[in-house]
């Protein structure tokens, strides 16, 4: 695995800030009523998408979740077009036809956020099957929540990835709650990673708030996949800053104790501190990245707000390839 370079540390810090700023802004704007539908925000989980996607190119594929904005940003999707999509505008990444829960950009290897919990597993192994069949060294990464781990697709897909030694990494974002139900209630196994042994693949549980822990575990698993050694399951312990969706009162969240400690951690300043101490990032550069990120998100909002809504005739377009 490649050691973290200055250039990559800067990329990571920018992406983490972009995700946080994007989501904090969407949170604000949603409360004003300018964004239709449902949004599920990724803020708090930035270390996972960025720590994993730092190892990927546009030729690698990812599948994502309801909480997909962070994966999109980390995979290199255009911020302006993403924001426009969430606003339901013609200039959106999906021409305003997908929205937050179905945002995708196949050209960037982003195979879609997914409105179906657990919907990404089989799609990811299909992309990995394609990579293997065409004898590429590209990989697929399947991001999934702790809720999705209890869907049948988890079992069928991981088992198939194992028997066919597919180049895929299953990255679990265990943020303690599937919707409003605690993971400790919904899962018979304490650790989701423990289930890996049932499929004969490696699994580990890591600190999902620690960028470097994610970066190293993902790097190892992705290398293994690229070398044709098969899938890995990584469980990242994390926490979401907001509710399951915007408007969720979050009555279930703990007010104190271990869970509250996890909730209070912020991987962005944690990574800044680490990167500056390791001389991967100067304080000036970090400040500059923070500023640029704020400006980029402001630009995205302006772009989205000024963009036209989709033309009525587009309702009928792209049902089929003509």
């Amino acid at each position: 695995m490649e050691k973290l370079s200055k250039k990559r540390a800067e990329w990571i810090y920018k992406k983490m800030n972009d995700i946080r700023n994007f989501e904090d802004e969407v949170h604000q704007i949603f409360s004003t009523g300018s964004i239709p539908g449902f949004v599920h925000l990724y803020a708090g989980e930035e270390a996972i998408a960025t720590g994993v996607c730092a190892h990927l190119t546009d030729k690698d594929y990812i599948t994502s979740t309801h909480r997909g904005h962070g994966h999109c940003i980390a995979k290199g999707c255009d911020l302006d077009k993403m924001m426009a999509e969430i606003y339901g505008k013609e200039t959106g990444l999906c021409k305003g036809k997908g929205g937050s829960m179905h945002i995708a950009d196949i050209d960037k290897g982003m195979l879609g956020a997914n409105g179906m919990v657990g919907g990404g597993f089989p799609i990811a192994i299909g992309a990995a099957l394609r990579n293997k069949y065409l004898k590429t060294d590209d990989v697929a990464v399947c991001f999934f929540g702790d809720g999705a781990a209890n869907e049948g697709t988890f079992h069928e897909s991981i088992n198939m990835a194992s028997i066919w030694k597919l180049p895929v990494v299953f990255v679990n974002e265990n943020n303690s709650y599937g919707e409003a139900t605690p993971q400790k209630y919904a899962s018979g196994s304490k650790r989701i990673a423990d289930r890996a042994s049932a499929y004969g693949i490696p699994g580990e549980t890591i600190d999902g708030k620690d960028l470097m822990a994610v970066y190293e575990a993902a790097g190892k698993a992705i290398d293994r996949a690229r070398k044709g050694e098969g899938p890995t399951l990584i469980e990242c312990i994390t926490y979401r800053n907001y509710g399951h969706f915007e408007g969720d009162e979050q009555k279930y969240k703990a007010k104190e104790g271990q869970e509250k400690d996890l909730a209070d951690r912020d991987s962005i300043p944690e990574f800044r501190e680490y990167a500056v101490a390791e001389k991967l990032l100067s304080a000036e550069k970090a400040d500059q990245i923070e500023q640029t990120s704020v400006e980029d998100i402001e630009h995205a909002i302006k772009f989205a707000e000024e963009s036209p809504i989709p033309k009525p005739e587009s309702l009928y377009e792209n049902v089929f390839v003509d």
Partner: protein
């Protein structure tokens, strides 16, 4: 004269030629070869089954296990994997052993494969052909005999074809595999042994185009799949009474050929649809609605449909035969429409 081969062999040949032509075509399914990792079969490069009915027999030995992929019994896993492989550039042909298993994998078709292109603003292409089988008449009872092409046909973003004969089966399958959309290719399991003339070359039958199998002026009968043979028997019998029946094999149930059906109804003024599916919210009801709306002024009587009853498929042979639409029922229905036939 072309050779005569079975419906099953025609499908096998269509798959073979599509695989020969395009390396991106792969097959996935349960026991489509069979015997994976069995040493004595591997040594002889043999498949164990070649599909539960033998439709894919010989394809694994010819193309290898990389292209003819035996899956675990995991319908949502391999159907979803087919969607993922199609979205990323392959042309998978997954086999759902019986269409009755659709419940296990419907999400991958209903919520994923059929919607990706639309949801992603036109960026995705899902060139995937789902082969499956339907139909009563094989004593397979309620969980292996249903006809669910109509359920799939109601989903936007997928095409559904139901061939009635070996010639159409081969040409439609090749057309489906070349199509850049999700196409469901539903085979009637009781037709597998049916023989007819099939050209040896690579050819396509157009998806979305019905065929007039017999011309007539007094009554139009539209059929799906093997119901064609019921209609042809009806046409023969009614011809003896001087009634000329026009028989249309619909071939594609989504999108179905409205033009051919409506033009025929304008000529005959009477329409019966024979659909083996259960009677409500099926393809026949859709045809009734569209023809009633667009050709009402040409109709000399109500549009009739002859379908399976609103029951699961029974096991006992006598009950199963009662379940299936037959020529007697269609002729009774025709008598309600045609004065000369009224007793």
């Amino acid at each position: 004269m072309a050779r005569r081969i079975t419906f099953m062999k025609a499908i096998n040949e269509g798959l073979d030629m599509a695989m020969e032509k395009d390396e991106r075509v792969i097959l996935l399914g349960e026991d489509i070869a069979g015997g994976a990792k069995v040493d004595h079969l591997a040594k002889q490069n043999e498949d164990a089954w070649g599909g539960v009915f033998g439709v894919t027999k010989g394809l694994m030995p010819k193309y290898g296990r990389e292209r003819v992929i035996d899956t675990p019994i995991s319908e949502m896993g391999y159907m979803g994997a087919s969607v993922g492989a199609a979205a990323t550039g392959l042309r998978p042909v997954p086999e759902l052993m019986f269409n009755d298993f659709i419940g296990f994998c419907l999400d991958t078709i209903l919520a994923q494969g059929s919607k990706m292109r639309y949801m992603f603003g036109g960026k995705a292409k899902i060139p995937m052909t789902i082969r499956t089988c339907h139909g009563a008449g094989a004593s397979a009872a309620a969980q292996h005999s249903g006809s669910y092409y109509g359920i799939l046909a109601s989903i936007p973003g997928i095409k559904v074809v139901v061939p009635s004969n070996p010639y159409d089966a081969k040409g439609l399958l090749i057309a489906a595999i070349e199509d850049d959309n999700v196409v469901v290719f539903s085979e009637d399991k009781t037709l597998y042994g049916l023989k007819d003339e099939v050209p040896e070359e690579y050819y396509k039958v157009e998806i979305g185009k019905a065929k007039i199998k017999r011309e007539g002026t007094d009554l139009t009968i539209v059929t799906i799949g093997k119901m064609l043979y019921v209609a042809l028997e009806v046409a023969e019998r009614l011809a003896k009474d001087g009634i000329e029946v026009e028989v249309i094999d619909l071939i594609t149930v989504a999108p179905w050929d409205q033009e051919t059906v409506i033009n025929s109804v304008k000529k005959t003024g009477r329409l019966i649809i024979i659909d083996e599916a259960n009677p409500h919210n099926n393809t026949a009801t859709d045809i009734v609605a569209v023809v009633g709306d667009q050709a009402f002024d040409y109709l000399d009587g109500p549009i009739k449909k002859v379908c399976a009853p609103n029951t699961p498929v029974p096991f006992a042979t006598n009950l199963e035969q009662l379940y299936l639409p037959n020529a007697d029922r269609v002729i009774e229905t025709a008598a309600e429409l045609i004065d000369d036939l009224k007793k």
